[in-house]
């Protein structure tokens, strides 16, 4: 069980998963995941195929768990009314962001603000703030088809944060961002993590070290490590695989989980 902060103190802003299973056909992609998260930035590490994206899609209410229970922000996502209330407070950036090429940046962010049922009177200001936060003010009226991959990634982040979400789920958010943008992005994560739960799936351990208060390592549908980045780093002492202390900790835990 991953525990970050005092979950019971504020169940309305928390993620609680118990023995969550996700089954596709005969394959269990998630094999009983337990999580208990309070506000903060939570890093999800793991190799390809570990189940990170499936876990995020489950938390994003795209997939209904095949087994186990979920409480997100104090709500049950299997109940339509509660799921709807949850989605108003949810931000999600998929691994592969689909977009409408002829929308402008502002139109795209506004479109999803409206679908999140933000009050109409607040939408334009929220859109401006989200675009500013991702540093795309100078491209707000540019069509998406004219943007670079890194800019599109930032558009995706803008639509995810436009409603000031209490639960923010980001799948490989820093892919395509340059180092300066990644630094700014980590600041944004920490800001949102002050009041909400932020879950970031990534391959980049330096993102975890810089931005996350808690980290979990997934392998083969299970969480095989949970703790602080410092704890994971300490586990790498004496291990030779990896270019940084945190990478050595990551490699060691993974190797032991597979042993």
């Amino acid at each position: 069980m991953v525990v970050a902060g005092n979950v019971n103190a504020n169940a309305a802003v928390s993620v609680q998963a118990r023995s969550v299973i996700q089954r596709f056909g005969r394959t269990d992609v998630l094999k009983g995941v337990d999580l208990a998260l309070a506000p903060g930035v939570f890093g999800l590490l793991g190799p390809n195929g570990a189940g990170k994206t499936t876990l995020l899609r489950t938390l994003a209410t795209i997939l209904t768990p095949s087994g186990g229970t979920l409480r997100l922000l104090g709500l049950d996502p299997t109940q339509p009314d509660q799921r709807r209330r949850l989605r108003r407070r949810l931000g999600y950036l998929p691994q592969s962001l689909g977009y409408y090429p002829n929308f402008t940046v502002a139109e795209f962010v506004e479109y999803f603000a409206l679908l999140k049922e933000m009050p109409s009177a607040d939408v334009n200001r929220a859109v401006a703030r989200a675009i500013e936060r991702v540093g795309l003010s100078d491209r707000a009226r540019s069509k998406l088809k004219t943007l670079s991959g890194g800019m599109l990634r930032r558009v995706g982040i803008a639509q995810a944060v436009v409603n000031e979400p209490d639960l923010l789920l980001l799948d490989e958010p820093t892919a395509g961002l340059d180092p300066e943008q990644r630094v700014g992005f980590r600041t944004l994560l920490r800001e949102i993590g002050e009041h909400g739960v932020v879950i970031v799936s990534t391959h980049l351990v330096e993102d975890v070290a810089a931005a996350c208060s808690t980290v979990a390592l997934m392998d083969a549908g299970r969480i095989v490590f949970q703790g602080t980045p410092d704890h994971l780093t300490s586990l790498g002492t004496g291990h030779v695989v990896g270019d940084s202390p945190l990478e050595r900790g990551y490699s060691r835990v993974l190797a032991e989980a597979r042993a």
């Binding site: 994003a60 009314d81 090429p101 502002a106 679908l115 049922e117 109409s120 500013e132 003010s137």
Partner: protein, 254 residues
């Protein structure tokens, strides 16, 4: 990412930084001012049709989804045209009733595909939105059938062959789509709406074919055309009444 460089070169070229610098000596919230300005400048003009639809549906988001997805408009036309073209060809060459019988389901599936993962690039994101992608689909389905039926009726005035397609397929499909949306709205379940609509369609066909086993005739609306039209208008009125505007007791879209 929102941090701007502070060097003179950047400030000289950046309107936002110049505005901040100019206001720095004043006792104002610069971010608030900037977001207010940006919100005004970047805001998309909302047309009268979208405004009216937003009020009618009680959901600006639903109105936006219905009206302003320009990159998807082509798929509306293609889905409708493909169903009608194939249906007309099969009916003419075989004389079998299956096309008329299955037309609502086939057209519905076509629209679902057009707005599903196969074509809609942002489908995954829409699945996480408070306004259900399924209710958006039902509203879009009704809109497509309704527009096509309207165009079909107009075409019937000048081209006789359009009359058959309009009466046999488009009007019944519009009625079924409207019924599905009405049931979905009142039961707060898109799945229930679709199931009920398909169930009613099958019941009508089976009841009319019970004595004769003539499914081809059963699928033709014949004397039921007036019922379909009245039913369509009634269901739309019911949906608008139930979701109407800003009433506190209005049914909310799932």
């Amino acid at each position: 990412m929102a941090k701007h460089p502070t060097d003179a070169g950047h400030v000289a070229a950046c309107a936002a930084c110049q505005a901040r610098e100019g206001l720095r000596g004043l006792d104002v919230d610069l971010d608030r001012v900037w977001f207010g300005v940006a919100a005004e400048v970047w805001a998309r003009p909302v047309g009268p049709v979208e405004t009216a639809l937003g009020r009618l549906l009680g959901s600006p988001g639903l109105a936006r989804a219905l009206l302003t997805t320009p990159s998807l408009l082509l798929s509306w036309v293609l889905a409708s045209a493909a169903v009608l073209a194939v249906g007309a060809w099969v009916t003419r060459t075989t004389g079998e009733p299956w096309v008329a019988l299955l037309a609502p389901a086939v057209a519905g599936a076509g629209i679902a595909y057009a707005y599903g993962p196969g074509v809609d690039p942002a489908f995954e994101l829409t699945q996480t939105m408070a306004i259900s992608d399924r209710i958006v689909l039902l509203v879009r389905g009704l809109a497509v059938f309704g527009v096509n039926a309207g165009l079909g009726l107009l075409a019937s005035l000048v081209a006789a062959p359009a009359r058959g397609v309009t009466l046999a397929w488009l009007i019944p499909m519009t009625a079924i789509a409207a019924f599905a949306l009405a049931v979905a709205t009142l039961t707060r379940s898109p799945g229930t709406g679709v199931s009920a609509a398909l169930g009613v369609w099958m019941a009508i066909i089976l009841a009319r074919a019970a004595g004769t086993r003539d499914f081809a005739s059963a699928a033709e609306p014949g004397p039921l055309i007036l019922l379909y039209l009245v039913s369509t208008l009634g269901c739309i009125a019911l949906v608008l009444l139930a979701t109407g505007g800003t009433r506190k007791d209005a049914v909310r879209w799932l």
